[in-house]
Symmetry: C2
Subunit: 206 residues, 2 copies
């Protein structure tokens, strides 16, 4: 038997823009700018977001219209395509299926594991459903139990448990706060450097 | 919390031709035609294949040249693309990374979990390394533990444990022997019917 390398990557901030920040900008509601970079408690963050949406009568189609105008980060599509030709890639994100679809299309449909929103008859987002608490860490653990050597890449507080669970954990353009709180992880700031680090990981594995 | 649907699919016989049968045809060695459809013991099957390759001095580049001439089954690329826009898809195959690459390129790089070959300095295939014994079943079990509702699709003996482990197991164009030995699984014979069955699975999940 032999382990094979697998890449587990975050989505927002690593391959695509932060969706909520884009929604905040288009809607002119600055409170929606908070992300997991700022608020480590995800449920607190999401409850706040849903309350703000409700107050401003913003529906799922409103947010989807914003997301449809977004593009992957410059170079992200090419970077990801090249990696997918070398090893299995699983994108682990705490976003929601209903939000991710237009961005996945622009990335040639990589495999995404995420969560889902509960929508009412008036297309309002009334709740969210985590598929699994701490899914990023638990997914990396499950992948390792299937004999993958896992390289994990993320930028935020909610990525740090998966980075710790992986064979190699890399912070990609983290906030200063995340980099300071998790000095044990390598930090890279562009796709070229990230690719070099992943190459090293695969070479060790060979 | 809520489970989300995920599709686990076999590769050869479901999305692409049986690679070893194609190699048998091009090399004119009928003994290479045996597949998991005929021989349930995978190690016995692979040891026999490697012995035959060695006797005929067939190297990895010889086989890769054959694989490069193959195309996905008619309609497979479109079928798979459509499904990947709806849910995560993991291809679970007992093939080898070194064989799969040209066919994955023609399927827009879906996520494949498989095994690897050991190649010597003369490009001879000297051994194979299973990443994990019974990886199809164990992968489906791990995916379910991550709160995915798994629909599994395969055609051969080596798919039947994953079909049994899944929330729904479907045989796609199985041999008469497989269909007879596993009457508990639904049988479908074209992508249209397979798609309808997967739609049913997703509707139940919603």
């Amino acid at each position: 038997m032999s382990m094979l390398p697998l890449l587990a990557m975050d989505l927002e901030g690593v391959l695509v823009p932060e969706i909520w920040i884009a929604v905040a900008e288009r809607t002119g509601i600055p409170a929606l700018r908070r992300t997991t970079r700022d608020e480590p408690d995800y449920d607190k963050l999401m409850r706040g977001r849903l309350r703000i949406l409700d107050e401003h009568r913003i529906t799922l189609p409103d947010i989807q219209a914003v997301i449809a105008t977004l593009d992957p980060l410059p170079g992200a599509a090419e970077f990801l395509r090249e990696l997918r030709a070398r090893m299995p890639v699983i994108i682990l994100s705490d976003t929601f299926q209903q939000f991710a679809q237009p961005l996945l299309a622009k990335l040639d449909w990589p495999t995404l594991w995420c969560h889902s929103l509960v929508i009412d008859g008036k297309q309002r987002i009334v709740d969210y459903r985590l598929r699994l608490p701490d899914q990023k860490r638990r997914s990396v653990e499950a992948l390792r139990s299937l004999h993958f050597r896992v390289c994990a890449v993320g930028d935020s507080y909610n990525d740090t448990t998966m980075l710790a669970a992986a064979d190699d954990g890399i912070l990609y353009r983290p906030s200063a706060a995340v980099a300071r709180d998790f000095p044990q992880f390598a930090v890279v700031n562009d796709y070229h450097a990230l690719r070099a680090r992943i190459d090293e990981f695969c070479a060790l594995n060979a």
